[in-house]
């Protein structure tokens, strides 16, 4: 994980953000590199998000929503506004989480692989250093303007132990969903941009239903 985080650090400064207000560039149908390269934008950028987590120890999904910000350089922030308030900051190699106005809990990014994966996914979305990303992940792109899918599969054993894959769905120059598949079978899908604004239709949506929304134009 450490190397992943490090790569991310290196790639961040080069990144421009293309998170929703993306440049109007259609993704070339086959090349992941050009897809990524053309999503570049300048920080700071923010987007609403809705995250749905499916975990083995829970009998229904967890849904949280709020705002995600890329602050430039190697800092990002994820503010949960519903159903509780919590601010998570990722940067300087650590994750800090503050629940409400309570104590700030910190931990090294190296020990929170999911946070690292999220950062990795975003770095891809933000249009960054494809080469750095390719050292840790094999990239695959599929689809067309109406719906494209970018899949990041870990290359290293250390990463594979934590993470099965990261999948990004999008339309035109607009990413819609970021799916993190943990090695233990847990999955979390983060809806961003227009899709997040639209919100979910159910408090406990089925994984297939959320995945379908990521794919569908509706």
């Amino acid at each position: 994980m450490t190397t992943l985080v490090k790569r991310m650090r290196r790639s961040f400064p080069a990144l421009g953000l293309a998170l929703l207000a993306g440049a109007a560039v259609a993704a070339p149908p086959t090349l992941a590199e050009s897809l990524l390269a053309q999503l570049a934008k300048t920080p700071p950028v923010s987007t609403p998000f809705v995250q749905v987590s499916y975990r083995g120890m829970l009998d229904r999904p967890l849904v949280v929503s709020g705002t995600m910000k890329w602050l430039g350089a190697d800092h990002m922030e994820r503010d949960i506004e519903k159903p509780f308030v919590a601010v998570a900051k990722i940067g300087d190699g650590e994750v800090s989480v503050q629940r409400g106005h309570g104590e700030v809990h910190r931990m090294p990014l190296a020990r929170a692989p999911q946070a690292g994966a999220m950062l990795a996914g975003f770095s891809a979305l933000l249009g960054g250093d494809v080469k750095a990303l390719q050292q840790d992940f094999s990239l695959a792109a599929d689809g067309g303007d109406a719906h494209w899918v970018l899949t990041l599969t870990p290359r290293t054993d250390a990463l594979k132990r934590q993470l099965a894959s990261i999948v990004i769905d999008g339309r035109n120059a607009e990413p819609r969903c970021l799916t993190v598949n943990d090695a233990n079978g847990d999955t979390s899908i983060t809806l961003v941009g227009e899709l997040a604004k639209a919100g979910l239709r159910s408090d406990a949506p089925l994984l297939s239903a959320v995945a379908a929304r990521c794919r569908n134009s509706r």
Binding site: Q51, M57, A86
Partner: protein, 775 residues
């Protein structure tokens, strides 16, 4: 003796010195253990100090900072060094922030409910469990979810993480790339050596090993590693002192050789003059090896200084040789006086042997053995090698004039009394401290390094080296209970800024009583299952997901409390072992403190615990040991002075003659003290030893000037010998007095001043009549 035989004997002698020297070097253990040097402990604190000094948790720490490269590179170097040191047998632990304490705590997993303080204030009822489970739901939505998830089924209240946090350093530097970084962008590490902090030899080995590990890391050359801490300072100080001493030794050796050539116009003295002294030294070391098996480094340094007297023996022989008379005869004539000097000094040093302090006994054995050996070599070996003189030193140009000048100097009888009175007045009334009790003041750490140490120490939250909190009780459990009891008071002291932080043994291991109390609060299986079911109502957790938790609580209910012995086998065991130990029947707990701002604030704590807890000022305790040592030295020196007076009186068979020898010696010593006091220099042990050396040299001057020869040429030879001796001593010690290292300056200044005063006074106070008699 033919020239060939002389050369053969010379080479044999040299070979013997080398052989014995080599044997001694491989067998004598020169220790830096303070116990070999100071008197036995008089109170518990001194005892603790002797047991713990340098072994204490704070003093073995080395603080490391890596700078001068990109953050990524620095983090890589930090991880590389961390990994290398973790496997180095010289180091007991290393930390750079990357250690996952949760995995450490996992080893003690079954005991988590006994070790964590949660149950002191809560119980595992439905209300508490529900609040906790709601928190976990929130945690599972956070980016750190995957960090916590593996624990949750067996540990939904996160006791393992609480323990990890409890055991993590209180003030951690910020983590960048998973390792510690300072505000100035240096990667920080802290490591603990196995060797004691004040064992320069072992510290030097550990530091060399550390530097080798670092140099082997990729990219190490571009970055810079800075080391700090007591061990490093000790190593640096002895390295600097040695470097400076070596530098001066080169200068003085060249000067000394030139002076010998000038004085004797022959290379023979240059070749052989060092042999008696070297012989004395190797025999002295051999005696130490045989009698004690080891010696303290400071004892060796003191002994070598005192042995400097022996350098005069061969010089006297060279000056007193006569043309046409073989060296053996000349030495035989000179011997009674030399023997008087040697035997008097040897008898005087017996007082050191009787002192009962190991360090002083070693000093006595080394010095007496060395002086006697040097004397014997000068008497029976040296003349066999040295050929008969080609010229009489009495004929040295200007010597007769010098004698005449000295003989004509006015010698008012009241002068010595006036000088003595003035000297005493200065000694008594000069302002400033009389004694220097801080040995480290003699090898000071550069200010910049001290400031850096303070900065790194603050950044890493590393404990103070000077202060320790001492807790005493009858057994280990009582110490742990005491430690628990005072924790709130310590927190209060932190709140009042009396100190920045602390670490008590109970932070790692609660007392058995506390563990049992927590155990008693653990619910039985049926109760816990019922509470859990109530707590889970309406929450999205799957039914039965916390079965491992219920099992673990059930198991913890019947665990025997975790003992110190068992805890010490865990990865964190070394930390507890350094804080909890048996000492003289009692058990002692050591609390480490950081940023002690108000030492006086601990008096209240000490009072409240009836003295069971008190602040140990290691500096004060060390200084009290030094004071005790100095008192022994002073007593020994006093007795030595009396013995010397008796021996000289007996040898000269006349109190009046003895007064002519001892008077100048006493007065000169007084004057050196007066000058040092007037200059505001506090006296250290090194000054005392230097004064003793100077007095030994002064004894020679006085004895030889007092001698009645009724032979003008012999008197001139005496003057020649004394002038060469004085000049060589002034050369060696005068140069040393210019040193920037205080300990070298102390020795150099004191001996040089002493030689000057002893010479002047032994000339001025020699019986005037017989100085002029022969002329």
């Amino acid at each position: 003796m033919r020239i060939g035989a002389r050369i053969a004997l010379y080479l044999t002698w040299l070979a013997l010195i080398v052989a014995v020297g080599w044997g001694v070097a491989t067998h004598l253990k020169v220790s830096s253990d303070l116990r070999d040097f100071v008197p036995p402990a008089k109170n518990a604190d001194q005892g603790l100090l002797l047991d713990e000094i340098g072994k204490g948790p704070g003093s073995r720490l080395l603080l490391l900072a890596i700078s001068g490269a990109s953050q990524t590179r620095l983090a890589d170097l930090s991880r590389g060094l961390d990994a290398a040191l973790a496997h180095d047998p010289d180091f007991s632990q290393v930390a750079n922030g990357s250690a996952d304490l949760a995995t450490v705590a996992a080893g003690l997993l079954p005991y988590r409910y006994l070790l964590s303080p949660t149950l002191d204030t809560h119980s595992f009822d439905a209300v508490y469990l529900r609040a906790q489970l709601q928190r976990r739901i929130e945690d599972l939505s956070s980016p750190a979810a995957s960090l916590l998830e593996p624990w949750l089924r067996s540990d939904p209240t996160l006791e393992t993480l609480k323990l990890a946090q409890r055991w993590a350093p209180q003030h951690q530097p910020k983590l960048v790339d998973g390792v510690w970084f300072s505000d100035r962008g240096e990667a920080l590490l802290v490591t603990e050596t196995k060797a004691a902090g004040f064992d320069p030899g072992a510290q030097a080995r550990a530091i060399t090993s550390l530097q080798t590990h670092y140099a082997a890391l990729p990219g190490a050359v571009q970055a810079k590693l800075v080391i700090s801490g007591p061990g490093w300072f000790g190593v640096e100080a002895s390295r600097n002192t040695r470097a400076e001493a070596d530098r001066f030794a080169t200068i003085t050796t060249v000067g000394f050789i030139l002076m010998l050539l000038l004085a004797y116009r022959s290379v023979v003295p240059v070749l052989v003059t060092a042999l008696p002294l070297l012989s004395g030294a190797v025999v002295g070391f051999a005696l130490l090896a045989v009698v004690f098996g080891h010696a303290h480094g400071i004892t060796v340094a003191f002994g070598f200084t005192l042995l400097g007297v022996a350098q005069e023996y061969p010089l006297r022989v060279f000056s007193h040789r006569r043309v046409g008379v073989d060296s053996v005869t000349c030495v035989r004539e000179l011997w009674p006086l030399l023997a008087t000097a040697i035997v008097s000094v040897a008898i005087a040093y017996l007082a050191f042997f009787a002192s009962g302090v190991a360090g002083l006994q070693q000093l006595a054995v080394f010095t007496i053995g060395g002086l006697v050996t040097a004397g014997i070599c000068t008497r029976w070996l040296l003349p066999l090698i040295v050929p008969a003189a080609r010229r009489d030193m009495a004929a040295t140009p200007g010597l007769a004039g010098a004698w005449h000048f000295l003989a004509q100097l006015p010698r008012p009888r009241w002068l010595p009394w006036l000088v003595a009175a003035a000297g005493l007045a200065i000694i008594v009334f000069a302002p400033g401290r009389f004694w220097q009790n801080d040995l480290s003041a003699l090898t000071p750490v550069p200010k910049a390094e001290l400031q850096r140490d303070a900065r790194l120490r603050a950044a890493l939250g590393a404990p103070d080296v000077r202060y320790l909190l001492v807790m005493r009780a009858a057994d280990a459990q009582a110490v742990l209970a005491l430690s628990e009891k005072i924790a709130p008071a310590m927190q209060a002291l932190v709140a009042k800024h009396a100190l920045e932080g602390f670490e008590l043994p109970s932070r790692y291991l609660p007392s058995a009583a506390t563990q049992r109390a927590r155990q008693a609060k653990l619910p039985d299986r049926a109760t816990l299952e019922a509470s859990l079911q109530q707590a889970m109502a309406g929450l999205p957790f799957r039914a039965g997901v916390f079965a491992p938790f219920v099992d673990d609580v059930e198991a913890a209910r019947s665990l025997p409390p975790l003992t110190p012995e068992k805890f010490e086998q865990s990865p964190l065991g070394a930390r507890l072992a350094a804080m909890l130990m048996e000492q003289g029947g009692d058990w002692v707990g050591l609390g480490t403190l950081s940023g002690v701002n108000a030492p006086a604030a601990f008096a209240q704590l000490s009072h409240a615990t009836h003295g069971a807890v008190h602040l140990l000022d290691l500096k004060a305790a060390t200084e009290s040991l030094i004071v005790a040592y100095r008192q022994r030295i002073l007593i020994a020196l006093g007795i030595a002075a009396l013995l010397l007076c008796a021996a000289v009186t007996l040898a000269l068979r006349s109190p009046r003659r003895a007064l002519h020898v001892l008077g100048p010696m006493t007065l000169a010593t007084l004057l050196v003290l007066a000058v040092l006091r007037a200059a505001g220099i506090p006296l250290s042990l090194f000054h005392l030893v230097s004064l003793t050396l100077a007095a030994g040299l002064g004894l020679h001057y006085a004895l030889f000037f007092e001698r009645r020869t009724r032979d003008e040429r012999e008197d001139l030879r005496t003057l020649h010998a004394t002038l060469v001796c004085v000049a060589s001593a002034l050369l060696v010690f005068g140069v040393l007095a210019l040193s920037s290292v205080p300990v070298l300056r102390a020795i150099g200044l004191t001996v040089a001043l002493g030689v000057g005063f002893h010479f002047t006074l032994s000339v001025l106070m020699a019986p005037a009549a017989h100085l002029r008699d022969g002329h």
